[in-house]
Symmetry: C2
Subunit: 251 residues, 2 copies
């Protein structure tokens, strides 16, 4: 029987999951996908994910692939799989890709949003998808600081220590700080992200907005190549993986 | 001891509640407020709410009042009460009002939003706060239909049957249909709303957007004075009470 490789776009509310990656204790997005795909296709399925998001992080468009010999048309898998998945995980698209296509071995551009809710008190309908900050934030200063992060840099200062990675150099195409009524959205687009990188960027930009750091200090933080130079890691629930875009011969 | 009347602005995520109003079975917003206020102030407190929202409906700014002899400064009650409330209920403001001020006996303007998420598949992070519609919606037609609803009308056709109310005449100051990326927001501002009125308006406007009804049919629906003439009641979780504004000598 011929195997084909299927790529799925996966959206989820991370609130009730211990992140993407399989683990012994605690339910994960990857485990739910494997379970439901195995039931649906009648063979043992193991997905390969593009981004192993942390516990509490959300996604509109994470990516995964898997191989199957089942002859269900690729485009129909999304509909059938959504019937089996819990309502906080929903496949947005399913399609066949070349058998050697791998989501982590191909050039891509990823977009994340970190959402902050500004108010005197927390707003219940916002609590699961944004970080509540009650201190005033100077958006102009945050934008100034954000500009230092754009371009190719060694982001070691913005990487959780203990992460094992060959290179800590990444390219950020854009770092925008946008006001949406009471929300402040930090939208970051890059060719890759280190462990906790967006959350550390967000935590540091918040400190700039609060006046605890100067916008120009971003250059020194980058140059320090030391996690201790940057600000705190902002909470996971404010972070959403928006989309993946792939380049290269396979796509 | 002198009694004073306190007004609170109450925000909540209605997902886990059986609506505002006290009931025998099931936890309600009103019951949580009474319980936490009674604990905080050391006397039996019974709040009076402005809008008794249904199960699943959310609020950014519902209003309630209560009387207390406790000498805690009115403005501090919000902070102290938020320490005791579950995280899906948060007081946004507390202040003293005249002792005869009553949220349902005074002229007011209320704003509701009904939010629709448009997509091929549901989006998990939107599922609790919007109604998922996968059929195409013609926004131009919905706006045309909405215009028929503005002004003073007898809205009996848009009132859940069985509701006991003296008059079914209400004034709608504005009915806007706004696109926000993938969301469609129906924003309604009026001097009062009948039982399920915004949800029936939303369900009917969706049918106009789907081409099942003509925009001009809104005039006939209003004239029919019959619930059967209007469309279905859209689901509760798409509805959010945005704000109350009060007029008159007391305010």
């Amino acid at each position: 029987m011929e195997k084909k490789r299927i790529r799925i776009i996966v959206a989820y509310d991370g609130t009730n999951y211990h992140g993407w990656q399989l683990q012994e204790n605690g339910i994960t997005i990857e485990a739910e996908l494997n379970r439901c795909l195995t039931e649906l296709l009648g063979e043992e399925i193991r997905v390969i994910g593009a981004s192993r998001t942390d516990a509490g992080v959300h996604a509109l468009g994470n990516i995964a692939v898997f191989d199957t010999v089942n002859r269900m048309p690729a485009g129909k898998i999304s509909y059938a799989l959504n019937q089996r998945l819990p309502e906080d995980i929903r496949i947005q698209k399913s399609e066949e890709v070349p058998s050697d296509w791998h989501p982590r071995h191909c050039a891509s551009r990823k977009t994340y949003e970190y959402r902050i809710y500004r108010g005197i008190f927390p707003m219940p309908v916002k609590r699961l998808y944004s970080y509540f900050v009650y201190t005033p934030l100077d958006v102009g200063r945050m934008r100034e600081a954000a500009a230092y992060l754009e371009g190719e840099h060694d982001f070691r200062s913005f990487c959780q220590t203990g992460a094992q990675v060959e290179s800590t150099v990444r390219m950020l195409y854009s770092v925008w700080v946008e006001e949406q009524d009471s929300d402040l959205v930090i939208r970051v687009c890059g060719n890759g992200f280190l462990y906790n990188m967006v959350r550390i960027l967000a935590g540091t930009l918040v400190e700039v907005g609060q006046g605890k750091r100067e916008p120009e200090s971003m250059a020194e933080i980058l140059a320090a190549l030391d996690r201790g130079a940057a600000g705190p890691t902002a909470p996971a629930h404010g972070l959403t993986l928006i989309k993946y875009e792939f380049f290269g011969k396979n796509d």
